[in-house]
Amino acid sequence: MNGATRNDVWVVVEQHDGAVAEVSLELLGRARELADRLGVRVGAVLIGADQAVTALAPALVARGADIVYLAAHDDLTHYLTQPYTQVVTALIREHRPQIVLYGATTTGRDLAPRVASALRTGLTADCTDLRIGDHSMKGAEHRDLLYQIRPAFGGNIIATIISPLHRPQMATVREGVMVMPAADESRAGAIVNVPVERSSSPVHSADGVVLSDADFVVRLVDRVREEKRVDLKGARIVVAGGVGVGSREGFALVEELARTLGGVVGASRAAVDAGWIDHEHQIGQTGTTVRPKLYIACGISGSVQHRAGMDQSARILAINSDPLAPIFGVAHYGIVGDLHKVIPLLIQAYRTKSAGTAAPGGTTPVAAADGGAS
């Protein structure tokens, strides 16, 4: 079995300014599982400027890659649709992976469909799960297909999509739904330098990738990218507020509970749309997906879109004045009541109980910023 016919599982790695996107590392973890099941290798495609990306390759091996295809060129410093499409398409044509995964970020969702169209293969957007399974169709049995599992129809259904006859099978995968693999610095892997040449006109090369001027007609004029100030994904405890919070001032109470418990503030889309809290805090299908040890939903009714972003939490406590709110359907504990009364009870109970044991960090009593909250 040689490299060309081994039909590996690939992850197209996203990096910005020399930092690998978390979703790419998460995908390496799942790619490792899929590849082990299929008995193939994990390939990682890493594209960027020479100086920035060469140093990143070992970290990809540590997270599960067997081969890193390193396409480094100064003209590839920033993501641009067409040159990146050329690189990925050329590598897929040469090495014929059976599965190619991308993060469902604005970059991955710009790149993957362009590649799928160029290769005339299938692509499933924004998957939340990936598995290997069989499928019979027209009397033929297709073994070891990639089951691409995703919510659809506004989150009202979960669809399993397959691409039985086309290769590679491609999917973009939502950030935060796959578990980040631990780095294993002792893992061994190969780093393959992909020659990238720049030419004024399109030419074919038997070896490596040739980018022409036609691939660079779109110019990046400006780019502002800030690191997230709110680390919802890393939070052990998330205290999230929804419509029931009632106002921007009401969020002071949610924030106080989060501070008291050492957690991070989250919000439903409705609360964000109402302007009570910044979009960075949004949890759900169009926000961040979280899986903390404890999720406290305050005044959140629990739309399917919201639940999609939090129902994997280890424990869920729902506080809602409506006993029929759908959030109680995914909760482990429910309190039917006015959150403006229940949250102060929680804060008080926690301070009392924790004062009796060791004093955990971040429990210094803090007055609510606005008395109107209660």
Partner: protein, 314 residues
């Protein structure tokens, strides 16, 4: 003098934001018939950008949709807002298309129109949320793309257009939203942009245009009917009849099937779609197993104690 040519790709979608119990069949699939059909929201944002550019630069705005005959409703809605020309791609051969087969048909329609300077569409449709048709159509047309556009910063109309008679090549500069920030890019024309809800607030239908097309509004038959079409022409005049049975206007609705597009049937519809839906599960709430806690000092205190004991808290 040729005008700036803008093509807007739109979709009629079931209103997934308002899925009710009746919309779910017992077998867990969606009963599309129970959902109202709406203009895909971000496609309205794309149309709004096109109409704004038309006001600023002068342009011919052509709206294309692919769907069943009833999808002509989104074309009517486009005319009410100021579109100049509308095209309906409808054919059983298109049915069951995934994003790859859809983008193939749409790209052929844009080509049949003679190409465009700018192709606009919504970032994604609310029934599938894939955001794939825009980039795939751009690839098939060989156009550059800028996706997730929240603002069109500048447009330099192309050579030979009314707005740009000096023969310079045209370009578009647009800002796209990315995680934690934005990017501004400049592309030569032609270019395809996918537009997000952030870009604008779409205008409502113009009263004047609704009056102009009131035959459509007053039309008792919501279905698009083949009998409206002139069989000799693929650019049929659709004659609208008012309540008294008088023709009140003649709106151009161009209807193309796969033959009109010169399409390879094997690349269309289900046959041309690499992906298959293997299984659909409805998201049914599990029967509530939440342990209910009293909203009292004692109830809440016991819960907090338990969570601390289990090392969930503290």
């Amino acid at each position: 003098m040729p005008q700036l040519r803008i093509v807007v790709l739109v979709k009629q979608v079931p209103d997934t934001a308002n899925v009710t119990g009746e919309a779910m069949k017992e077998d867990g699939t969606i009963n599309r018939a129970a959902l109202p059909a709406v203009f895909n929201p971000e496609d309205l944002n794309a149309l709004e950008e096109a109409l704004t550019l038309k006001e600023r630069h002068g342009a011919r705005v052509t709206v294309i949709t692919m769907g069943p005959p009833a999808a002509v409703q989104v074309l009517r809605e486009s005319l009410y807002r100021g579109a100049d020309e509308v095209v309906l791609l409808t054919d059983k051969a298109f049915a069951g298309a995934d994003t790859l087969a859809t983008s193939y048909a749409l790209s052929l329609a844009v080509r049949k129109l003679g190409g465009a300077d700018l192709v606009l569409c919504g970032r994604q449709a609310i029934d599938g949320d894939t955001a794939q048709v825009g980039p795939q159509t751009a690839e098939k047309l060989g156009y550059p793309q800028i996706t997730c556009v929240s603002r069109i910063d500048a447009l330099v109309a192309p050579e030979g257009s009314e707005a740009r008679p000096d023969g310079e090549a045209g370009s578009v500069t647009a800002t796209r939203s990315i995680e934690g920030g934005f990017e501004t890019l400049t592309s030569p024309l032609p270019c395809l942009l996918t537009v997000t809800a952030e870009a604008n607030d779409p205008r409502p239908p113009s009263v004047k245009l609704v009056m102009t097309y009131k035959g459509i509004a007053a039309e008792a038959m919501p279905e698009y009917d083949d009998s409206y079409l002139d069989p000799e022409s693929d650019a049929a005049e659709v004659c609208m009849i008012d309540r008294d049975g008088r023709p009140v206007c003649r709106a151009r609705v161009v209807q193309w099937d796969h033959e009109a597009l010169g399409a390879d049937r094997d690349a269309l519809g289900l046959r041309g779609s690499p992906t298959r839906v293997k299984q659909i599960e409805s998201v049914v709430l599990a029967q509530s197993e939440a342990r209910m806690v009293e909203p009292t000092e004692a109830g809440v205190g016991a819960l907090v104690h338990e969570l601390i004991e289990e090392h969930i808290l503290g």
